[in-house]
C-alpha cells in the first residue's frame, strides 16, 4: 500500500468534518487522556506523556510537538460502539415504541492498534453469531477509523504477546505513524474509504527515509512492552487450574469493584433495567454495562451462582484468556493493559497468569 506524508493533521480533521463526521480524538482532561469530540488539531494533547503501572496512571506535559506520545487511555472504542447506557424500548399505555437510535457518524482519531483488535473481537461477539445486534451494526458502520501506531507502549501494555500491536496491520481506514524532527505523519490507507479521504488531501509520497523512520518507531515500541504473557496452551491449561489456591489469594486482594471489566475494550456484558415513570405512565427498558464481578450478574432465584470472590475473579480471567476461544474462536484479551492500570489495587492479569501456570 502506498504511504504518504502529512505535515499536519488539520486538513485531515477538516476533511472528515466536512464529510459529516464528528471527529473524536484524544484530549487531556482531569489528568487523563480521554476520547472526546475535537474540532482542530490544536485540541490534541501536544507534549503529553503517560506513566502507567498497576493501579497507577499519571499524565505529564513535555516540550516538543508529539501529540500521540502515550499509550491506551481508559476510553476505548467500546464507549462508542457499545455505550454505557442505551434505551431499547419505550412503552406508553400498551404501545411499544422501539427506540431507533441514530448512529452518529464518528471518526475515531488516535485509537490504538490494540483497539482495532478489540473492535474485531466486538464484531465477532455482536455480529458473528446467529443473532447479530442491529444497533451495534449501525454504530459500527458509521465509524471511520484513524489509528495511530504506538511509539511508546505503556508500562502495562502487552500487545506483542497477544499479536495485536504495536503496529496496526488491518482493521483501519487510515493508519498514522508520528515522526519527530521534523514533526510529520506517515499515513497509509487501509480501506476504500481511507483511500478516498486521503485522495482529497494534498499529500506527498513518503520517501525511503520516512518509511525507515516509521519502521524504526514500531520496531522500538515492540521491544518496550511493559508486560508479557506466555499464551502457549493457555486455552487448555487455564480452565484446568480451576482448583488452584491462587484464586483465593487473588480474591483476598480483589475488591470486586468491576473497574477491570468496565475499561476492558472487549468485555461486553450488560444488564437490563425496566423502569416506570410516575409522571406519564411511560415504561422503559434500558441496557447498561454490567460485569461478572457484581452479584446480580449471576443471580438465579434470588442468590448469586458466583457468590465468592474467587469464583468471580476466576470467571473473569478464564473467560478473557481461555473460554473466549471456545465461545468465539479467538482470545478475549488484546493486551491493552487497561485492566491492570485501572484496577484500584493494581491486580495484574499477567502476574496472576504467570503464578497460576
Amino acid at each position: 500500500m502506498a504511504a504518504f506524508v502529512l505535515d499536519s493533521l488539520e486538513p485531515l480533521i477538516a476533511e472528515l468534518r466536512s464529510r459529516g463526521f464528528a471527529v473524536v480524538g484524544p484530549v487531556a482532561r482531569g489528568g487523563v487522556i480521554r476520547m472526546e469530540e475535537i474540532s482542530s488539531a490544536a485540541d490534541l494533547p501536544r507534549g503529553a506523556r503517560d506513566e502507567q503501572t498497576p493501579g497507577r496512571y499519571r499524565l505529564s506535559t513535555h516540550d516538543g510537538d508529539l501529540m500521540f506520545d502515550y499509550a491506551a487511555s481508559p476510553d476505548s472504542a467500546k464507549r462508542f460502539t457499545q455505550p454505557p447506557r442505551q434505551t431499547l424500548i419505550r412503552m406508553r399505555r400498551g404501545d411499544i415504541e422501539e427506540v431507533e437510535d441514530e448512529a452518529p457518524r464518528l471518526a475515531l482519531l488516535g485509537i490504538r492498534p490494540c483497539d482495532l483488535a478489540a473492535l474485531a473481537v466486538q464484531d465477532r461477539v455482536f455480529l458473528g453469531g446467529r443473532h447479530p445486534d442491529p444497533a451495534y451494526r449501525r454504530r459500527r458502520e458509521a465509524l471511520f477509523l484513524v489509528t495511530v501506531n504506538c511509539a511508546v507502549p505503556g508500562g502495562t501494555c502487552f500487545c506483542v504477546s497477544m499479536g495485536t500491536g504495536p503496529k496496526a496491520t488491518k482493521g483501519f481506514d487510515l493508519a498514522l505513524t508520528e515522526l519527530a524532527d521534523p514533526h510529520r505523519f506517515v499515513v497509509e490507507a487501509g480501506s476504500e474509504k481511507g483511500v478516498d479521504v486521503l485522495g482529497a488531501l494534498s499529500q506527498a509520497a513518503a520517501c525511503d527515509d520516512d518509511l525507515a523512520a516509521a519502521e524504526e518507531v514500531s520496531r522500538i515500541a515492540a521491544e518496550h512492552m511493559g508486560r508479557q504473557v506466555d499464551t502457549e496452551g493457555i486455552q487448555q491449561w487455564l480452565p484446568q487450574a480451576h482448583d488452584s489456591p491462587r484464586w483465593s489469594d487473588v480474591a483476598s486482594r480483589c475488591l470486586s469493584c468491576t473497574n477491570c471489566t468496565m475499561v476492558c475494550p472487549t468485555c461486553f456484558c450488560t444488564t437490563m433495567e425496566d423502569s416506570t415513570s410516575l409522571s406519564d405512565g411511560t415504561a422503559e427498558r434500558v441496557e447498561r454495562w454490567d460485569s461478572c464481578f457484581t452479584l446480580d450478574f449471576s443471580e438465579l432465584n434470588g442468590s448469586p451462582v458466583r457468590g465468592s470472590g474467587e469464583g468471580r475473579y476466576r470467571q473473569w480471567l478464564t473467560h478473557k484468556f481461555a473460554t473466549w476461544y471456545d465461545q468465539f474462536g479467538m482470545s478475549g484479551c488484546v493486551g491493552c493493559g487497561r485492566c491492570i492500570t485501572w484496577c484500584p489495587v493494581g491486580i495484574d492479569v499477567t502476574e496472576e497468569l504467570a503464578n497460576l501456570r
Binding site: 464507549r79 447506557r85 469493584c257 468491576t258 468496565m262 410516575l278
Partner: protein, 281 residues
Amino acid sequence: MGTRKGTAVTRSVRKRTEGVPRLAVWKFASCDGCQLTLLDCEDELLSVAAEVEIAYFLEASSAPGPGPYDLSLVEGSITTPEDLERIQHVRRVSKHLVTIGACATAGGIQALRDFGDVREFAAVVYARPGYIATLDRSTPISANVPVDFELRGCPIDKRQLLEVISAFLAGRRPVVPAHSVCVECKARGNACVMVAHGTPCLGPVTQAGCGALCPAFDRGCYGCFGPMESPNARALNKQLRALGMSTPELVRVYRTFNATAEPFRQASESAENSREADDDA
C-alpha cells in the same frame, strides 16, 4: 442491615386497597435531609400526589390523616425509649415500610455514640443531663421491626427515591443495584481519582446510587451510601495506606454516616486494632 433488596414487593399497593394508595412519611432521629429530597422532587411530587394520597407528611402538611397506610417511608434511627414504641406503631399501621437514608438504614451519624459512652457525651453537652432520656445505641429501623426495603444514602438520591415509590406502586422490584460506586463512575466517564490522582476513595466498597457524584468533582467517595454487596475493606485499606492514609484517618473515613453498618464497623475496628494485620493481609 436487614433486607438487601425489595424481594418482599410482589403485589401492587393499589390493588390491595382498591383505591388511591395512601403514603406516610415518618421521622425519627435524623436531620430531615431525606424528607427534603422528597419535597425536592417538585414536579414529580405533583404526580406522586396524583397517584397516591399523601396522608401523613408533617414536613409538608400540618394536617395528618389517620392510618392505615399502604406505603410508609421512614427517616431516622431509633435513639429514645419513645422511638421504640412509635416505630412499633408505624409498623402496625403500614402495609409496606421502606426506610430512607443512612440513619434509618444503618443508624446514621448519631450511631457514633455506639463507640463511646452516651452518658459521658450527655454530661458534656447538656447542663442538666438528667432530663435526657436516650438509648445507649442508635439503631436502624430493621433492628426493631421488619422492613420491606432499605433505600441508602446520606441523603438519599432523588432518582432512586422516585424509582422506589414507582416500583412499589407498580408492584415490581425497585432497580436499586447493590454493586460498587465504581460501576457508575466508569459509566459516567469520570477519571478514577485513586488511579489517576492518588486520592483515597471509598467507591470500591460503597454501594452505588449517587451516580458517582464525588469522583465527578475530583473528590474521593465518602461512603455515604454504605457498604456495597461484597465489600473487601481489608484489601482497600491496604491501598489507602499505600496512598498515605494514617490509622486515625482510616478509622475516621469509615466512621461517618454508616459507621455501624457491619462491614464499615469491621473496617474501622480492624484499622484501629492492627496496622500490621492489614499490612500482612
